[in-house]
Symmetry: C2
Subunit: 664 residues, 2 copies
């Protein structure tokens, strides 16, 4: 039974699990907990000796191998005495082998196993022990239990935290298994990011290796926790003794824990409750009894962790529902899109349709044009002077409309040229002008602004050629061409734009890029609605372009070296790439942008851009991260190159624009 | 004119170059130096302004671009005043461009340019300067000079050392050029390994990026220098003031410098002389004059660096010539071979032929069998007792012969079973037995030793199933099968074998593996005659197998974690992989092996094995290197997995033997 409703959330964080001890009677365990309100159990995988089950097999050299297996139930893995370790089993029959067992796979239906049970691997295993026998026993146990879990099609298994500071052999065994399993997620439980990082690197960032976080009473710093939201955290295990007690004796969580759980929900991380009830809520407890009007019989049948579950459900339901905009964009979360090629390709009607709906953007443009008109023409000249305004890249007309509304609002007279290179958009533009009766004001020019031979010069040049990273859709190159027909004292709207960048952890995006198994995709910048990520350091400005620019030495090539310092309490981190944004000054104090700290609210035309790294860069706590980015211009294309030089050097990405470029 | 003859050496280190200053008259410069005994010159690339050369070109948007270029010779790049930097050229014609120029490409023939001239890039450039204008000028200059060098098909260019500690932008520009050039090697000159390492990583370990080392009077420690022999060092620039003066007033080098030059020659690194003569050897110098019987006229025409060149030639010629064995193996140096699959594939006659020539190996086996026979049978029983000796994996018979010779030498009576699975080798074995008249002593068994049903048990089991890494050709698995027919007190020859491993720097092998552009080749162990490499730490033992092994829990699976500490004075290093060896104890004190510190001399049956790393691991000075290796056994194959966990974690290589395995 999910935690409840929360508008817009259809993610897995609705489901809450509970950690259980070993019990022979799996159907009973499951029904108790499901009836008690939990959606799944995290249960130890039982262990047994199978008897008299034998099979024979010829190997290719013709020798006969016979395995004798015994059937005889043993104690739960959790309670296994050394006597039950594989190496210590009765040596009388040397070929006997212990197999994992949980009664039988028939005690639950396949769908019950796969949707309600998460396997828990024996916690005594230590695959990096200096004791060879313990190490080998641990390997055998891990493989057997995971094989059994796989046979049951469990959706996930919970592996114990590596015992020491070394995890080489543990990682190798898990990695061997990961290479073969396609239908199960192995969940790694650890409280140390460093150990996790080492483990996952050894396993080549395998996409089926995930994390379960233990949530204890004392929490690390916000920055330290923040790192985890870029990692593949699937579950958070909240122990009952993490709960505090409210005035009525009920379990509840501290404010910091509440906020943490909200973030878990937001990032689709499932909660698992663990431990014994530590809040005594017997029927005799007057406050509780009174509040819930439970009679004694009901109370007795209640799941012992029900009050904890109820509280988690309460937190889930009281979360702020997602705003409409966010709900609309749910499907885009962490989905990599290749940036547009607006110069080389003509946009489709659907694309215009989407962007034109972004009213916030056009309101900002209208405000900017209004201010520019008032600055340019005094009130006394308003009725006698006509301002020549050119919209370059007019599309289907939204900036023409915004400009005309600005003129109306300020009482200025306007002559508008609408320059558009896409002949399909020009068709729509003509019918708009006719429909609106703008024929006397608006002249439509079907031409590339870089080549148009203008009949007169403009007072105001209005354009919106910005990409997620500002200049990445070649606004600088287009406006270089258009400034030919701007008056020497003319105004460009926007008057400048700046790109911003910050390092991020994002396992999800890294794995999605890696899926392509080629260099090209690691050297491409993507447009993406970032969601599951950790922003490791505040963004810094990269390239600025100012318009008009009459400098004789102007160049659109750029180079920037940035040095990011992570906050001291973050700890070590891994950088999968860089998130990019822009901020544009349209006119004076009117700006528009997506840089997180100054983003224009409720604007949806731009998702951030993401520059990946071919190999994630490990940054030790306290080390600075040095990033270089170049904007390079050729005769037919513009491209970025980027690299990291500290703490270690990466290859230079996208040399000569070999993988990713924007055509001129 | 090469430095002289040295038996067996046909490498580029025979050629010696000289660094020259800029001079307009390139033909004169070249003839002077070639007549003076040098093979090539390292010359600055001159600079000029080309005049009145114009070209026009339409870009795709239909705009017209015109470049005006001026022709007017400027001073040499080496002497360029800031006034001649690209940014400071007369701005009257804004579109003018400076092009590199050296008189004309016609002053030398194409083959002279390509075989006798190495270009030297202007040393003032600083591509990572904080001064934007200097930086941009430097970029333009570098590109122009390299383009000019490429136009001339120069074999190499010498780039100045990066100015500061940062080289991001310098590396990007060089990398852009490297991606495009196919006919030129860019030589990077640096005295700092760290800076070189950063540079090359940024350039993705490009195979055309090489190093020229400056050799100065004071040399770093031997370990520090040793690192460079695993790097792509193409030339060593020896400055005249590095030379000391001998009793007769002639230039010579210190003992350490002499040894260093010998190593350069051995590793095919070319010497370039640089600087002005600092040893005054006028005709008046009596000792020199008397010694060389030069008359004054000859003396006057001698190249000013001739006495330095003669000394380098003298060092070259007095090098120990390569031993015959080494000369025979020249063609195998650093050539990657896939290891044999001796169980799955039958060896070819040619392979048997080669291995049978290794007399040293068979002498060791004969010594081992002799000792075992004497231990087993006392002198008094020698004539009455027949020893049953089985050669398992008899091939075409060399171990049968060695065993029979041991019997003759010790006066023991032998009954030999020669077991061989390759039916083709068995044919040869039959004719050998007939030819040698061994019919009464030797019984040939055409069978796989793992399945053979022996009619009696053996006193001595002789085998040679060893690979470069000891167990890698599955000797353990084969002998497990053969030990069934060894008497309980029987002797196995070999009685044990151990593998060894050590971390190495080897750019050459790394690049050869990388050339395949796939995972498979990075997860394969290769047999290779190692040459251009730096051994970073003494080798350590890995896996040991002992025969016979009657332990009830015996397993051929193995796991070893090794920790390598680099010597303190080495500095930081890069690890491209691990070199593997073996040592086998045949019987008591008779051993056989290729581990460098204990290798059996003049034995050529085994080259080392090389385990590559997918990404080279940077090890900071003083950091330990932690390596893990597993020997894994399945039903049909045996394989290794390996990884590094410190200073950083690598992926686990060859998980499940997905890339490389040996079939059972």
């Amino acid at each position: 039974m999910p935690l409840g409703d929360n508008l817009g959330d259809k993610s897995d964080s609705r489901y809450c699990g509970v950690e259980t001890e070993f019990n022979d009677d799996m159907p009973h365990v499951l029904s108790c907990n499901v009836n008690g309100g939990f959606d799944f159990v995290v249960a130890p995988l039982g262990f047994s000796k199978l008897k008299m089950f034998a099979f024979t097999k010829f190997d290719k050299t013709g020798c006969l191998l016979i395995h004798y297996l015994d059937v005889e139930k043993l104690q739960a893995a959790e309670h296994m005495e050394p006597g039950y370790r594989p190496s210590l089993i009765d040596k009388a029959s040397r070929d006997s082998t212990v197999l994992p067992f949980a009664g039988s796979d028939l005690v639950l239906s396949p769908s019950q196993w796969s949707s309600h049970v998460v396997g828990k691997i024996s916690s005594w295993i230590d695959l990096d022990s200096e004791d060879d026998i313990l190490r080998v026993d641990s390997e055998i146990t891990l493989k057997q239990e995971l094989a059994w879990a796989s046979h049951l099609s469990l959706q996930a298994c919970l592996l114990p935290t590596p015992k020491g500071t070394s995890c080489g052999n543990y990682a190798r065994c898990v990695n061997q298994i990961l290479q073969n399993l396609n239908n199960m997620q192995a969940v790694e439980l650890t409280d140390s990011w460093e150990l996790w990082n080492s483990f996952r690197v050894l396993c080549e960032h395998h996409s089926q290796l995930s994390i379960a976080l233990d949530v204890l009473s004392s929490l690390p710093s916000a920055n330290s926790i923040g790192r985890w939201f870029g990692e593949p955290v699937k579950a958070a295990i909240v122990h009952t003794d993490t709960f505090i007690t409210n005035a009525r004796g009920y379990p509840c969580l501290s404010k910091r824990h509440q906020n943490l759980l909200s973030r878990f929900f937001y990032y689709s991380i499932q909660i698992v409750l663990s431990g014994k009830p530590v809040h005594k809520l017997s029927g005799g407890n007057s406050a509780a009894g009174a509040d819930h009007s439970d009679n004694y019989a009901q109370q007795a049948q209640r799941h012992p962790l029900r009050s904890y579950l109820d509280y988690v459900g309460y937190l889930y339901q009281k979360m702020e529902p997602l705003p409409e905009q966010e709900r609309f964009e749910l499907g885009y979360r962490d989905f990599l899109q290749s940036p547009l090629q607006p110069l080389m390709d003509n946009l489709e009607a659907q694309t215009y349709e989407t962007f034109e709906k972004d009213s916030v953007k056009y309101i900002q443009y209208q405000r900017a044009v209004s201010k520019a008109l008032v600055d340019r023409i005094s009130d006394e000249n308003a009725s006698t002077t006509t301002v020549v305004l050119m919209v370059v890249g007019a599309g289907r007309g939204p900036l023409v409309r915004a400009s005309l509304q600005a003129a109306e609002e300020t009482g200025r007279k306007l002559k508008v040229y609408a320059v558009e290179k896409n002949p399909n958009a020009v068709v729509t533009l003509h019918s708009l002008v006719k429909l609106e009766g703008w024929e006397n004001v608006v002249t439509i020019i079907s031409s590339d602004m870089r080549c148009w031979d203008a009949p007169e010069k403009a007072d105001i040049l209005v354009s919106e050629l910005l990409g997620s990273f500002g200049d990445n859709e070649l606004s600088p190159e287009c406006l270089d061409g258009a400034e030919r027909f701007l008056k020497p004292d003319g105004i460009s709207i926007p008057s400048s734009y700046t790109s911003f960048i910050q390092p991020v952890t994002t396992s999800k995006l890294y794995n999605d890029v890696k899926l392509h198994k080629d260099l090209l995709h690691f050297e491409t910048a993507y447009v993406v609605k970032l969601h599951r990520l950790a922003r490791l350091s505040p963004s810094q400005s990269v390239f600025t372009f100012t318009h008009p620019n009459y400098s004789p030495n102007r160049s659109n090539q750029r180079y920037k070296k940035l040095r990011f310092e992570m906050p001291n309490d973050t700890g070590s981190t891994i950088v999968h790439g860089f998130a990019g944004y822009f901020d544009a000054i349209l006119y004076k104090d009117v700006h528009l942008g997506i840089e997180p700290s100054t983003a224009t609210p409720n604007m949806f035309s731009w998702f951030p851009i993401f520059f990946p790294l071919r190999s994630p860069v490990y940054v030790k706590a306290g080390s600075p991260l040095e990033f270089h980015i170049w904007r390079c211009c050729g005769n037919t294309k513009v491209w970025y190159e980027w690299c990291v030089t500290s703490p270690t050097s990466s290859p230079i990405h996208n040399s000569n624009g070999r993988s990713y470029w924007v055509g001129l």
